[in-house]
Symmetry: C2
Subunit: 381 residues, 2 copies
DNA sequence: GTGAAAGCGCTAACAG
DNA sequence: CTGTTAGCGCTTTCAC
């Protein structure tokens, strides 16, 4: 029996009129208030822990009267179940872990919205981790989430060459689903966009307008190692697919050495300098295809700084139809990826697995559409 | 001893050339692979659970050799601690719960980035919940997070009139910090922006340019109940502060009945219609102040649809300097809230509490700055 | 230094 | 229908 103490006392006085006055005694940090447990409720209700657990956990069968007693006791004691303990014994946490590259990128935040809507609808919560597109951070995130015993995992992997951590997850039997980026070597559910096709269509639009010098700007790093095709080894499928689509469309149009028109390394601050450099060249591109909306925004700024007009001097198309693309002058033609449904679809897929669906692995590829606006015109002569 | 089974076997064959072939046998769902526990490691290392726990948990003292044995065993078995069990006994989860109004709003996603950066630096993980600006969803989110035994909570409360759930959290002794929106009735740490001052300065800029008919567009609902000041009861401090700042600056300039120029209800889709309506009136405003960047974007579109030019026909200022404000023609003058540091500051504050700082409650108010661009000019005559 | 044993709060057999 | 009894995987006294 602990000694009675006024240290943790709170007196709440409901005034007839409006506000609630709360008089709180000084709290003693060392003496942490033990939260009320199922055992407390059971004792108060004069039933066994098992019975109390049954009504509070909403399973099994209990008599009318017992149910009532327990509920009343729980109410009185302000009982809140300890989800941790519950997860511990059931093995389920009700959590879906999500690892994305960059939550600040509207592409991802919109997808995450799709995921959390689907999750909430199915009674799951989402725990979100940011990898910052760094493989080590991604591994750490996965480790932490697994440690937290998430029921399932959705990840946008930063590097397809290093997937041991994902393979481990998969082997451990915990449902895993891939968002936006496919991993050919990993046989798990995935929902992606047909980036290659989208890039081809966007490039064709430019080619059809008469462009021959088209630059593709991407955040991917230009690696030292180059493959047989003269391209650096690209570590994410979306990036690679888009570049391939771009190159294929260029070759289709008999444009020579299109791989020389791929501009790498367009990370946040670097983009503007890279594009500015390209624009300053004597054979500057007459059209640019940006691999995401953040890059496109910087590209737009670089074009403006170079005092070039869109589409008269240069045409521009971007991947991802961000909110701003329609308010620039002119508005920007964009590849519209169904981002929200991308998120919703993976989540739905994962949730089906969590509910025991053992059907064959699904790899859903969603088509993107092209929204034509005013940023594409014929090249200047 | 479990019988040997090939059910869970995976054979990985590394081919000399390129790809990795994975042959996976059918997995049997019923036979869930029990993850390796501390006891397994202890057994393998020929030590007691306690010793294994000491080295794996990084506390207490162990002999050199024992340490080595345990580490080796853990490595061999690919041991991953069960954070759940750990949290259960220690009472700490290493989780910071964050409840925001709308993760899609770049304002919040940027703040969340600040929070998670600070959290990661201090060894905490972030679990994120979206309230959709609905008080019931917020309450549910708080309940869930508390159930998950988060160590601390950061919330942007959707309604300052209903804070019983937050009061409960506070009373339970779990650290709570408020982000962006103050709650005068709740004596907890908070980091907010000086919205009133920012609104005044923005409005003054308009007044000084000669404007007399200035509209303030906000997402807040126009309630039936009105206070003594003729304004509906506003449930969030930021919204109220901004409106008050706007009104104060108007009164300062002897503008009559400025409260009639506050346009309520600018939720996503509604904004454009509301602004369009105002622009169609004979005494249409000559300047608009938008309460966030999403509203500003829609307002911009409405202005363009009304074939009005900025700033010749109408001036525009927005709260929150979203990425797009600098690429429109003309670029938009904006109130620049230090969003990232807002998030970082609350997180730092909360983390200090988690580490036992019992100092007096802090309410940090950060000043916003005004970025003047080309969207403000004199009113048309 | 190390080990045995007692929980943390809950669920899940298994009897009654 | 209800209670008893084991655990879940880990930390943490408390002896040795």
């Amino acid at each position: 029996m602990r000694p009675v103490s006024f240290r943790n006392c709170y007196i709440r006085i409901d005034l007839p009129s409006t506000s609630l006055v709360v008089v709180s005694f000084m709290k003693d940090a060392s003496e942490k208030r033990r939260s009320v447990t199922l055992a407390d409720v059971a004792r108060q209700a004069n039933v066994s822990k098992a019975t109390a657990a049954r009504v509070l956990g909403g399973y099994g069968v209990v008599s009318e009267s017992a149910h009532e007693d327990v509920m009343k006791a729980a109410q009185a004691l302000d009982y809140r179940p300890n989800e941790l303990a519950r997860s511990m014994t059931t093995g389920r946490s009700g959590l879906i872990g999500v690892v994305v590259g960059d939550i600040e990128n509207p592409f991802f935040s919109f997808a995450v919205r799709g995921i959390s809507d689907a999750a909430r609808a199915a009674g799951f919560n989402v725990i979100l981790a940011n990898s910052g597109e760094e493989i080590e951070a991604e591994k750490a995130a996965v480790r932490v989430l697994i440690g937290k015993r998430v029921d399932g995992l959705i990840v946008t992997s930063a590097d397809c060459r290093d997937i041991s951590h994902l393979r481990d997850v998969h082997l451990s039997g915990r449902p895993l689903a891939l968002l936006d980026r496919a991993l050919p070597d990993l046989d798990v559910d995935a929902v992606t966009v047909d980036d290659r096709d989208a890039a081809m269509r966007a490039t064709r639009l430019l080619v059809d307008a008469g462009h021959r010098r088209i630059a593709y700007v991407t955040a991917a790093e230009d690696a030292e190692i180059r493959g047989a095709d003269g391209l650096p080894v690209i570590s994410t499928s979306t990036v690679r697919d888009r570049i391939e689509g771009f190159l294929a469309a260029c070759r289709e149009a008999d444009i020579a050495q299109p791989e020389r028109s791929v501009l790498f390394g367009a990370k946040k601050t670097a983009t503007r300098a890279i594009v500015a450099g390209a624009l300053a060249a004597s054979d500057r591109p007459t059209a640019i295809l940006a691999s995401d909306s953040i890059i496109a925004l910087e590209t737009f700024k670089a074009i403006r700084e170079a005092r070039l007009r869109i589409p008269d001097d240069i045409s521009l198309i971007t991947f991802h139809d961000a909110d701003w693309t329609s308010v620039t002058s002119p508005p920007i033609t964009a590849v519209d990826q169904p981002v929200y449904s991308l998120g919703k679809s993976v989540a739905d897929l994962l949730i089906r697995r969590l509910k025991g669906d053992m059907a064959a692995v699904e790899r859903i590829v969603i088509a993107a559409s092209l929204i034509e606006r005013g940023s594409v015109g014929p090249p200047p002569h």
